[in-house]
Amino acid sequence: MAKMSIAEALRQAIREEMVRDPRVFCVGEDIGVEGGFGGAFTVTLGLSEEFGHERILDTPISEIGIAGVAIGAAMAGLRPIADVQYGDFLFCMMDQLVNQAAKMTYMSGGTVSVPMVMRAPVGSTRRGAQHAQSLEAFFTHVPGLKVVAPATAYDAKGLLKSAVRDDNPVLVFEHKLLYGSKGPRSEAGALSPVGEVPDEEYLVPIGKGIVRREGSDVTIVGKLLTLYRALGAAEKLAAEGISAEVIDPRTLVPLDRELILESVRKTGRLVIVEEDNLTGGWAADIAAIVAEEAFFYLDAPIVRVSAPDTPAPFAPVMEAFYVPSEERVIEAVRSTL
């Protein structure tokens, strides 16, 4: 076992997969420049010295091109790990991701595969409205894309390795406050969870959620940063004698629906926490699934704790208001009791 941050765990996953399979390569902006950053959050730091610039391929500032290159390379026999500096830039490449990557297999009647990974940092981190969004829900809406959102070092490594080996496009959303990036790329207010990562090879399967804390009174579902908000709330609620079960779905598509349903059948109450905007969101979809599949087990209305329907604000006081806090989760849980 080694203790490492998520950035280190992701780097180790990339290194291991590149050693294992010569078809694997990284493509993105500022990922392999000597004296550079190793990507926006240090994940690829040092890898170009190890693997060379052909396999840690720096691109122009061309997000449509990056996505297209990943898609085409995947279709023609390589295994690309592409990344964007900020998840918000995925919007620049939406045609490639949504019209091309997601639909290629389907349009070909199942004969063409697009085994690509697209990594994207999300979350509000004092950068204002265009470097802050939580985009996971957009992509869960697109059939043909798999979506993962690891919140621990163990899962980050295991899920990224599974994503590289998957024969479909997989979007990996990483939270900027969870990387534990060091030096000038470290983040103010970061949680930087450092976790145990086994020395031996392992994979975390895509499509399997996990119960992070067992409880009996209420189910709280959180992902990425909001998982830690949920866990913090659960800890405080425990002191009041309220037993909250916390679920981390880890993969959003395909979703481990049964894990959530099973928990709600046990607790009878559900609070969903997300950093994305409320309307048409991921929390709404989880609420709908539970309302359809486990309505008669519910003892109280389902509650969503989301960001309000505004762009992400810059001022730290407004940002703290915008991103769901432990207090808001606690209030939401209380409202169900």
């Binding site: 390569f25 052909e54 691109t59 122009p60 061309s62 449509i64 091109g65 996505a67 297209g68 290159v69 990943a70 898609i71 085409g72 390379a73 995947a74 279709m75 023609a76 026999g77 390589l78 690309p80 045609d95 490639q96 019209n99 091309q100 290629m104 297999t105 389907y106 349009m107 070909s108 009647g109 199942g110 004969t111 063409v112 595969s113 697009v114 085994p115 059939p143 043909g144 798999k146 024969d167 479909n168």
Partner: protein, 323 residues
């Protein structure tokens, strides 16, 4: 005689197959037997034919919303294309693609990309893989003059140039992006002039002369195979039909159409061959018969093929997924 030593009769047969295939499609569409919309390639056959004549199954061609010509020239079977147009389970996309997405990876043609300009970045990725795998393959990205103004094409041309990718960008300039005339959307006369801005060769070719296309493509493809990098090849041509089946062509003049009809590529090649005594009328008639028989067979096959099950819609969202 051109340097590329063109297989004249083969080029003629391929162009004629595309023409007769599409004329039949049009007829079937009017009869209501094809449910799809159609973007026909009539008049542009020399481009796909002249380029694809140099390609192997391990080379890739990426096409557009107007892909029947590229598909036939690349070796996708007329049966499987026609069955796709008929929305049958035996179609080249199992009924999940339709006219705008025909293709068959086994012969190096991914599903055609019907978002204008969308195939160029993907072509870069495929060419990058060919270069990295060292298999000597090349990738052709076909697009129209309309696509040349898409940002995606700009990003792709730049990336192909900086990485010396084995890619050929074939701009089929048919003078109209749907109904918008070339001069409305360009300040320059030739799309190929933009190649200089990316640091790659740009060439202008008479796209209605299959021998000119064949020769220019031979050079660009050979250069790409040898590691010389990409080429932007602009083929000047003309759609002799509407943009789609709902286009009454009220934005062009009959005089312009007549001028281009005189230069249409199939009659032109036949005339060239006759002039040089390279073909007999008997031979041309035989080719016509064979081509018509191929189209008849494709239609019969498509009509006899089963429909997909409604619930087949649930398959193939993910690779390897059966249901």
């Amino acid at each position: 005689m051109p340097q590329s030593n063109p297989p004249l009769l083969e080029l003629y047969r391929t162009m004629l197959t595309i023409r007769r295939f599409e004329e039949r499609c049009n007829h079937l569409f009017m009869q209501g037997r094809i449910p799809s919309t159609l973007h026909l390639y009539i008049g542009q056959e020399a481009v796909a034919t002249g380029v694809c004549a140099h390609l192997k199954d391990t080379d890739y061609v990426l096409s557009t919303h107007r892909p029947h010509g590229h598909a036939i020239a690349k070796g996708v079977t007329p049966r499987s294309i026609m069955a796709e147009l008929f929305a049958k389970a035996t179609g080249c996309c199992k009924g999940k693609g339709g006219s705008m997405h025909v293709g068959d990876m086994r012969v190096g043609m991914p599903p055609a990309i019907a978002i204008v300009g969308g195939n160029a970045p993907i072509a870069c990725g495929m060419a990058l893989a060919q270069k990295r795998l060292g298999n000597g393959g090349v990738t052709v990205s076909s697009f129209g003059d309309g696509a040349a103004n898409e940002g995606a094409v700009h990003e792709a041309l730049n990336m192909a140039a900086i990485w010396d990718l084995p890619a050929i960008f074939v701009c089929e300039n048919n003078l109209y992006a749907a109904s918008t005339a070339f001069a409305t959307a360009f300040k320059i006369d030739d799309v190929a002039a933009r190649a200089a801005a990316y640091g790659m060769p740009g060439i202008v070719v008479d796209g209605n002369d299959v021998l000119a296309v064949h020769e220019a493509a031979a050079a660009a493809i050979a250069r790409a195979r040898e590691g010389g990098g990409p080429t932007l090849m602009e083929c000047k041509t003309y759609r002799l039909c509407g943009h789609s089946r709902s286009d009454p062509l009220t934005y062009r003049t009959k005089e312009e159409e007549a001028r281009w009809l005189e230069r249409e590529p199939i009659g032109r090649l036949a005339a060239q061959m006759r002039e040089q005594d390279l073909v007999t009328e008997e031979r041309l008639r035989k080719i016509e018969e064979v081509v018509v028989a191929v189209i008849d067979d494709a239609v019969a096959y498509a009509e006899a093929s089963p429909d997909p099950l409604p619930s087949d819609a649930l398959q193939h969202v993910f690779y390897g997924q059966e249901a």
